[in-house]
């Protein structure tokens, strides 16, 4: 790997930092995108019989009636699964505190633990026929007591897993003492002011517009498997398939085609379908495809967010927090394939931009008979920020101080970076913030929203009989977690630049921003650069797209790979031009001597020269053949330590996460009669370090805020006491339409990360993180009623008014 301590390059030229239009759009606006279900037009279809019960024992599965269905190809139950395929799915992220991690079988074995758990797989001519067959399969269930609701589950009157006492998957305590050594509880006891309260956050889910999907092609002649999956990690799906099917890794390739949104749910893997479909494709020697439908996505993918938090805080007269003690009940659903990442992120990122005197956080991750909980954009941060920001507002209310003053009194100051929060982050590394400027961020936000002039605005509204309120929320987001990503950059003799990285794309515009990095680093025209992501045929080593890490980790890996290519190109050019490489520059794909533009050689020619040839097939390659060029007879055509070709590969492995931050403010209006809640203004100050493409970053913020608005006002998963998800459709689960999302005003602050060559921080999740906290604060300000539970509907607000 390259030297990491190279100073951040100043990208004063090139397309880095510019509002470049996206590469991806040409195909997506003409219907030429290739999403999972657009592939495999002749494949057989798979469909699943899923449990209608939240908790039941399978007595018998009777497939007899389905066997006569015309077009049926195969039916599989757990008993049909061979070897390791019959074992539970992997527990992807083990942790010492996860003492009772449990994962599902690919097809249910004996017991089902949530509505939607797959029990039988059917393969048929098409999806209609497969579903016909599914409907004729009789599963005889003995219904067991369902465990629904995290508090009920914590009381453990009934168990989700017979061998998990108390329904507790994990229990973890982290303590950071005050500088004087006092514990959080001691600091709170000794504080001039203390408050204690409870907060609730409901379940929501990623709900990308495209659900999951898998399409597998077995090549019997080659004994190889090609799998397409709508996944956030093709490299890891590949390894999982190879392991579960006992295939040599080089015989399995996995490709993430165009993916219609992910937001976290598609980082979980292997989903049962991701190993069952390839397994059956090989067994039957037929192409098979499974495309998740909307109801399946609701009941058998993953949810997130649901937590109950008990907070105690001690503070001084200025609102400085002296001690904070948070106890979290985290509902992890029926299984824990993704470990306890979400509550760990909540516990650590709860601290936000603040210096907390002493901190104690405890969580219990609890099983319930509901869909499993795995990261959804923000991944535990919205809950943590809700907790901290509601706490700040309560402190301000208690002291009668301005809410922004209380926050400012607790801010980490710009000269205190790197700032060590004294905890362990989700990547197992110390929680050390690399850079930021929180006071400036708050100043910008107050100016943008008009914080100081709001009281006048409120008075005027009141004079018109209207009720308005303002709220603010701050967050810090650890982004760009390791372990690593890689990049490969190849210049071919036609002058084109081919770039690949292993992580995947779900709409973030990676093809565009990575091409911007390459065009700038290499000095080539943007149009000459093409980028491939998430295709194991092109790049086999990768982790995946999550934790706002693509620009940071792959972006830097690609930049480092470019620097290798550049160095090699300059070396070869220096030879050819008889110049010192230090006097050379690359502009528009041409290497030239600084100050002597006529002494130049295009990269396409260097690509030819870099690859000594015996055979010519066109004019360009003729120049590289053994009699055309005049190599020094005393050294081999490819020098020792060199490789043929103008290409480079490098990896970026961050020492630790880089910490982006931001602050949001909103003005809301609540209808005095109907309790309707309307967001009048929404303002964002966002700091993700150096911006590669401000247009794309703003798009990410808009989308994140929209999801945040959904989580704050509309979206919740409603389970009844039987564990039935009552709103498993877009009719009943209220995702915001254009009419529900306010115009978002955005300003950027750039505090470059000192940790990586490009100085960038992640931006993917930021928008969603503080929204619930901000909206709650604004409603509270409008109504004068404490808001402790999100989302909040007009009915909820009406009930709060009545209870006042």
């Amino acid at each position: 790997m390259s030297e990491r301590r190279e100073p951040a390059r100043e990208h004063v030229t090139g397309v880095f930092g510019k509002r470049v239009q996206r590469r991806e759009d040409a195909r997506l606006i003409t219907g030429r995108g290739r999403f999972l279900d657009d592939l495999g037009g002749n494949a057989l279809a798979a469909a699943f019989v899923r449990s209608p019960h939240a908790h039941a024992r399978i007595r018998d599965i009777d497939v007899a009636a389905a066997l006569d269905v015309d077009g049926l190809v195969a039916i599989y139950t757990w008993e049909d699964l061979p070897g390791v395929l019959a074992e539970p799915l992997p527990l992807l992220i083990p942790h010492p505190a996860l003492t009772h991690g449990r994962t599902a079988y690919p097809l249910a074995r004996e017991v089902v633990r949530h509505v939607g758990e797959p029990v039988v797989m059917v393969v048929a001519r098409d999806r209609y026929v497969a579903e016909d067959a599914c409907s004729l399969i009789e599963v005889d269930y003995e219904i067991l007591k369902p465990v629904v609701g995290v508090e009920e589950a914590a009381q453990a009157a009934h168990l989700v897993h017979e061998d998990v006492p108390g329904n507790v998957a994990a229990h973890m305590v982290q303590e950071v003492p005050a500088p004087d050594g006092r514990s959080a509880r001691e600091a709170i006891e000794a504080a001039p002011h203390t408050l204690a309260f409870r907060l609730d956050i409901e379940r929501s889910a990623c709900t990308p517009l495209e659900g999951k999907g898998v399409y597998a092609r077995w090549d019997a002649d080659d004994e190889s498997l090609r799998v397409y999956s709508s996944t956030q990690t093709s490299t890891s799906v590949r390894m999982a398939i190879a392991a579960k099917l006992g295939l040599p890794l080089p015989k399995v390739e996995v490709i993430a085609p165009d993916v219609g949104g992910g937001f976290g749910v598609k980082i979980v893997h292997p989903w049962p379908e991701e190993i069952l479909v390839p397994w059956a494709a090989r067994l039957l020697d037929r192409e098979i495809k499974w495309t998740e439908d909307r109801r399946e996505h609701f009941i058998s993918s993953a949810h997130e967010r649901a937590q109950v938090q008990y907070v105690r805080v001690g503070f001084d007269d200025d609102g400085r927090v002296l001690g904070l003690d948070v106890n979290i009940l985290h509902d992890n659903g029926a299984y824990t394939p993704y470990g306890i990442i979400v509550p760990i992120v909540t516990s650590t990122q709860l601290l936000g931009p603040y210096k907390i005197g002493a901190y104690r956080v405890e969580f219990s991750s609890i099983y319930t008979n509901t869909v499993q909980v795995t990261p959804y954009r923000g991944a535990g941060r919205p809950q943590g920020v809700f907790c901290m920001e509601r706490t700040m507002d309560r402190i301000a209310a208690h002291l009668g101080r301005d809410r922004t003053d209380v926050r400012a009194a607790n801010f980490i100051q710009p000269d205190e970076f790197p700032y060590d929060q004294g905890m362990t982050f989700q990547d197992g590394r110390p929680l050390i913030y690399d850079s930021g400027d929180y006071p400036e961020s708050l100043r910008m936000l107050k100016e943008l929203i008009g914080w100081d002039s709001f009281p006048a605005m409120r008075d005027q509204a009141a004079a018109e009989g209207r009720r308005i309120g303002i709220g603010v929320g701050c967050y810090v987001e650890g982004t760009g977690v390791g372990p690593y990503e890689g990049g490969h950059v190849q210049v071919t003799s036609d002058g084109r630049v081919h770039v690949s990285t292993g992580l995947t794309s779900q709409g973030q515009g990676h093809e565009t921003v990575f091409a911007q990095i390459v065009a700038t680093e290499l000095g080539v025209p943007f149009e000459k650069v093409s980028v491939v992501t998430g295709d194991t045929r092109r790049f086999g080593y990768a982790v995946g797209t999550f934790a706002s890490r693509a620009a940071v980790v792959s972006g830097n890996a690609i930049a480092l790979a470019c620097r290798k290519v550049r160095e090699k190109a300059l070396r070869i050019a220096a030879d050819a031009l008889e110049a010192d490489p230090r006097d050379l520059e690359i502009t528009d794909g041409v290497v030239h001597v600084v100050g002597a533009p006529s002494a130049s050689i295009p990269l396409s020619t260097i690509a030819v020269l870099s690859n000594p040839l015996r055979y010519a097939f066109d004019d360009e390659t003729r120049r590289a053949t053994q009699f055309a060029s005049a190599p020094s007879p005393d050294r081999p055509p490819v020098s020792e330590g060199e490789e043929p070709g103008l290409e480079g590969r490098d990896y970026y492995s961050p020492i630790r996460s880089t910490f982006a931050s931001g602050m949001h403010a909103a003005i809301v209006e609540t209808d005095p009669l109907t309790a309707e809640i309307k967001i009048l203004r929404y303002a964002v100050v966002h700091d993700c370090g150096k911006l590669i493409n401000p247009m794309i970053v703003e798009g990410q913020i808009h989308g994140g805020v929209a999801q945040g608005v959904g989580g704050a006002l509309y979206e919740k998963m409603v389970y009844d006491q039987h564990g039935q998800l009552l709103n498993a459709s877009f009719m009943d689960f209220l995702m915001p339409y254009a009419t529900e999302v306010p115009r978002i005003e955005t300003t950027h602050l750039e505090t470059p990360s000192p940790l990586n060559p490009l100085g960038v921080k992640g931006a993917g999740e930021a928008g969603v993180i503080p929204v619930s906290a901000v909206i709650a604060a604004a409603i509270e300000d409008a109504e004068g009623i404490p808001i402790d539970r999100m989302p909040i509907s007009p009915s909820d607000l009406h009930a709060l008014r009545l209870a006042r």
Binding site: L209, G261, D293, R294, G699, M735, Y737, V741, G767
Partner: protein, 159 residues
């Protein structure tokens, strides 16, 4: 039992043999190979599957293919003319009105019909026009901008 139907899709006569229960969305995607039309919910809420039926936007996931025998259908593949992108398509790219692109075909078809009927809409009218389509990526702000921009491009080109 299959039914023989003839559709005029993007100006081309297409024939298909489909069971009565085949959704128009599935017919377009799987029988005719026009996979640009996407299916996001199959219960008529998300609008991703919106196509133009005799010029009017409909949810192809709520339409049986056999019920539109003989009718004209425009899908996202048919919005460009002679290889030139339509004003709506250009505006969506220009304004960053799409991210993953899955819902985009529905928005493009919806906006195309809307701007044909109302070439100079105000903010409220644009909001209303697209308020039946879900997008999980963009937060709609740039989609709204794109519809306005498309109206502008249309006007420039007409003038």
């Amino acid at each position: 039992m299959n039914h023989h139907i003839t559709l005029v899709v993007n100006g081309v006569v297409r024939e298909a043999s489909v069971p009565a229960r085949r959704l128009l969305s599935d017919c377009l995607r799987h029988d005719l190979g026009l996979t640009g039309t996407h299916v996001g919910c199959e219960h008529g809420v998300c609008g991703a599957c919106t196509v133009l039926l005799d010029g009017e936007p409909v949810r192809s996931c709520l339409t049986f293919a056999v019920t539109v025998d003989g009718r004209e259908i425009t899908t996202v593949e048919g919005l460009a003319t002679g290889g030139e992108l339509s004003p709506v398509q250009r505006a969506f790219a220009e304004c960053h009105g799409l991210q993953c692109g899955f819902c985009t075909p529905g928005f493009l078809c919806t906006a195309t019909a809307f701007l044909r009927d109302n070439p100079a809409p105000d903010d409220e009218e644009v909001l209303e026009a697209i308020s039946g389509n879900l997008c999980r990526c963009t937060g709609y702000q740039n989609i709204i901008k794109a519809v306005h921009r498309a109206a502008e491009i249309q006007a420039e080109e007409a003038g």
